[in-house]
Amino acid sequence: MKKLWKGNEAIAEAAVAAGCRYFFGYPITPQNEIPEYMSWRLYEVGGAFIQAESEVSAINMVYGAAAAGARAMTSSSSPGVSLKQEGISYIAAAELPCVIVNMMRSGPGLGGIQASQGDYFQATKGGGHGDYHCIVYAPSTVQEFVDIMYNAFDVADEYRNPVMIIGDGMLGQMMEPAEIPPMKDVTKMYEKYHKDEWATCGHSDGKARIINSLRIEPDENEEFTLRLYKKYEEIAKKETKVEEYRMDDAEYVFVAYGSVARICKAAIVELREQGIKAGLIRPITLYPYPSATIEKAARRDSVKKFVTVEMSMGQMVEDVRLAVNGLKPVEFYGRCGGNVMMPADLVKYIKEGK
């Protein structure tokens, strides 16, 4: 049964349903409903919550709980996620599964608290130090946030890799009808993903497990990094997700993710009512990036140009340009500072070319 859920609370409940039992976080707008919800909810299902002393501690608590074999997560908003980057790099390098939510607000610096997509580079290109990637999802509705969260821990466990889900203040604060799927059995997850082989939860079988990211010999570290990148190749093959909206005959192709993709959809409906054939490619995974879908569209004769729309000064547009590879023009339309474009702005842009 669909219920009206606030984005942040739906995400929290979906995580609980997915088997998340540990949450570590620090207050920051606009995601506070997630820790607030977890602070009481996790104790109802035998889990635990810590309001950490800092974002740095929170992500390291996630590292600890994940190392011990649990499903653990943290959430924050942009400045807080910057602070977590050290820990995320360690988690990726120690190959620990976990989920990190970033409800993006506008930067740089303290910036503002309104919705933004300024953390695309940080989320998809590493964020912390060294060669690594998170698997990055960008849902665009509360229901999709729920569904992605529900599977995120499975994906994280499957590849032993951190998963990041990025939304923005708009998605976190808004209410929409959503349905939370049934509770997963946490103990089965522990067995299913063979955590007994590696989790440092205090074994008494005489075999010590070690969770570590120190590989001080260059050869050892290179071998590890190459293996990590083999894993990313497999993730790209199996986990890339993208939505194509009214693309069959589209001449003007918007590329947008998250809440901005919804604004594009509204603009497309309006443009088509006026006889202009517009469509949308909406990456659902930002890493791995659905470059192949974009390239295929670029090869179609019907497609005249791409317009990447972002609440930033243009970050994802670089990946669109790489995918299009000069086959068609790629333009950019953006708002920043916490401002949101309206469907009418995009209609005007397509009609007037500005």
């Binding site: 740095v56 929170a58 608590m61 939860c201 205090g202 010590a208 070690i210």
Partner: protein, 252 residues
């Protein structure tokens, strides 16, 4: 042939990389002996630091987690909530780790009264990175980032971490020990045992500060370095128990 002294089983066969005269090896052995004597060696969980003891995970034959610099208390706080309450958890940390970059984690784990044991190795210097000033470097002592000696006006003052943490409600037991001679090694072992017993009784966080030597970065022989701890460090960082809730309980 009769074996009269053996290596604790909790220590692996891996040869330790520590310099001659360094205190880390002694403390590693004491932890291993104590955990075995308490019958808790097989399912303990250790958190290794960044610093000279970064390889601690190679030396302890139990589940080990290598932490980012200073983050061991945060990591162990989470592990504590996941694993069986009977698994003993210890953080092994140096002075840069525990009292500088990880000060917030240390203080807040103490404030929460986490049921863990923190072993804090205070040698007053950054060993692994080559002898830079530590948060515990004493006034007048030279380091590579205070080459004329620590002048508090320029470089700030050192911290007495045990005394500071003892002002908090959360910790159950705090003691400072040294390892520069046999009687003190024995006292250090007793302190570690008490610390782990307190964890076994689920009374909260126990914190053992060990005054340690670093002959390489003190530019001393091992014997001179031990003597430095005895004659210079100990007067500045007095040994003793700074907090013991088992005593407080007995008195109340």
């Amino acid at each position: 042939m009769k074996i009269i002294a053996d290596k604790p089983k909790l220590l692996t066969e891996t040869p330790m990389h520590y310099c001659p005269g360094c205190t880390h090896g002694i403390v590693h052995r004491l932890i291993a002996e104590v955990l075995e004597e308490l019958g808790k060696a097989d399912n303990a969980i250790g958190i290794a630091p960044v610093g000279c003891a970064v390889y601690a995970y190679r030396y302890f034959n139990c589940d080990m987690i290598e932490a980012a610099h200073g983050r061991a208390p945060a990591i162990s706080s989470a592990v504590r909530r996941v694993v069986n309450p009977d698994n003993l958890i210890f953080c092994y940390q140096g002075d840069g780790d525990c009292a500088s970059i990880g000060m917030a984690e240390t203080v807040h784990a103490c404030m929460r009264g986490e049921n863990i044991t923190v072993i804090f190795i205070n040698n007053g210097i950054y060993g692994m990175t080559g002898g830079q000033m530590a948060p515990t470097t004493m006034p007048g002592v030279k380091a590579t980032t205070c080459i004329y000696g620590r002048d508090p006006k320029k470089y700030g003052n050192p911290v007495h971490l045990s005394e500071m943490l003892a002002t908090l409600t959360g910790p159950a037991y705090i003691e400072r020990v040294a390892c520069y001679d046999v009687p003190h090694v024995k006292k250090a072992k007793a302190a570690l045992k008490k610390a782990f017993e307190i964890q076994m009784q689920k009374k909260g966080l126990s914190f053992i500060e060990v005054l340690a030597s670093c002959p390489t970065n003190f530019h001393m022989t091992p014997i001179e370095a031990m003597d430095f701890v005895k004659t210079q460090a100990e007067p500045f960082y007095p040994l003793g128990v700074f907090k013991d809730i088992t005593k407080e309980e007995a008195n109340s």
